[in-house]
């Protein structure tokens, strides 16, 4: 039978284990898989979701380079904090037509990272919109590619028209420490948002 962890103290046998989920979103080629790989303790795994809703595919005529396919791959990684507490990272599929998968992925997510490349900032607009509308806490992590002009956090924040308080961090997706820091910011921000909402409902 399915059940939730009823007692969080000393809950470290498998069935009482707690798993948290952080999504990694952003445009194609912005470094999502790289980020997942740099912080994950397992090599990034791929899982495939078979599309049983064929209709989802029909109305997309947007690009010639898009393959017609019946499966979509998702990259994911895992970080074990301790026995019974682990963090899973999911790279969201880049193509728009897989939005419905995002709905599933984002359900119960602690928070999200929107990876951005300042040379193509518009690529991350859909992800920003998505998380803002669903009130999922997210941070924007600017992946600092070599050769790209560097911007300050405030400039990126303004360019993306982010809600006040949404953190922007500069990072190098290839670097483990940098990736870890991005995740720390997500967890901190998610905690703050959650507390604020809790106070809202109480008071």
């Amino acid at each position: 039978m399915a059940y939730e962890p009823s007692d969080r103290t000393g809950a470290d046998d498998g069935a009482d284990a707690l798993a948290l989920k952080i999504l990694v979103a952003g445009g194609f080629g912005v470094g999502k898989t790289t980020l997942v790989g740099s912080v994950s303790e397992i090599r990034p795994l791929r899982t495939e979701e078979t599309l049983s809703r064929a209709g989802e595919l029909v109305d997309d005529t947007g690009g010639v380079d898009r393959k017609t396919t019946t499966t979509v791959a998702m990259d994911f990684g895992r970080i074990t904090i301790r026995a019974g507490l682990s963090l899973y990272l999911f790279g969201t599929p880049g193509q728009d037509r897989f939005w419905f998968l995002w709905d599933e992925l984002s359900q119960g997510a602690l928070g999200a990272v929107v990876l951005a490349d300042t040379r193509r900032l518009e690529d991350c607009f859909p992800a920003v919109d998505y998380f803002e509308h669903r009130k999922i806490p997210f941070v924007v992590a600017v992946n600092c590619f070599e050769g790209a002009r560097s911007y300050r956090e405030q400039e990126v924040s303004r360019a993306l028209d982010l809600d006040q308080g949404t953190p922007v961090v500069l990072c190098d997706a290839r670097d483990r420490d940098s990736g870890k820091e991005v995740l720390v910011r997500v967890v901190e921000y998610a905690g703050r948002m959650h507390t604020a909402r809790h106070l809202d409902t109480v008071g």
Binding site: M1, L105, L110, V187
Partner: protein, 140 residues
């Protein structure tokens, strides 16, 4: 293929695998393994991608294991080796998530597995757990 027989243009085609390779995709349609079912059985369990699956050491009808299909058994073996998330099981068994969900539903119904659901969004983990996660990440 380096077979020595087919060296002329009129040579007979090698009888083996020239018609397909990894690029051709799976040779068995995914939902053939589930008997055409695309959703888990009557229990209606909807497995989250990060739901953690554990093998039950003491299943109610252990004899039923003998009649399980090969994919069911593969999944069960993976769960016995280590608690895994649905996403990991899908990757490790090399099966699409949708198929894995149906097969896990069968195993859950026959009592071979236990599943832990992730925390629903309305009750995100308390500050203490988040602190632990942050400290854990920094210590990696």
């Amino acid at each position: 293929m380096n077979d020595t027989h087919g060296d002329g243009p009129g040579g007979p085609p090698a009888p083996d695998s020239r018609w397909y390779d990894a690029e051709a995709g799976p040779l068995v349609r995914p939902y053939a393994m589930t008997g055409g079912r695309t959703r888990p059985g009557p229990g209606g369990e909807r497995f989250d991608l990060i739901a953690l699956v554990v093998a039950d050491d003491d299943p109610p009808n252990p004899d039923e294991e003998a009649v399980l299909g090969p994919e069911h058994r593969d999944l069960l073996a993976l769960c016995r080796a280590e608690t895994r998330s649905v996403a990991e099981l899908s990757a490790d068994a090399d099966l699409p998530v949708g198929v894995v969900r149906v097969l896990l539903g069968d195993l859950l119904e026959s009592g071979f597995l236990r599943v832990s659901r992730p925390v629903p969004p309305a009750q995100l983990p308390d500050a203490r757990i988040l602190r632990e996660v942050i400290d854990g990440l920094r210590a990696l």
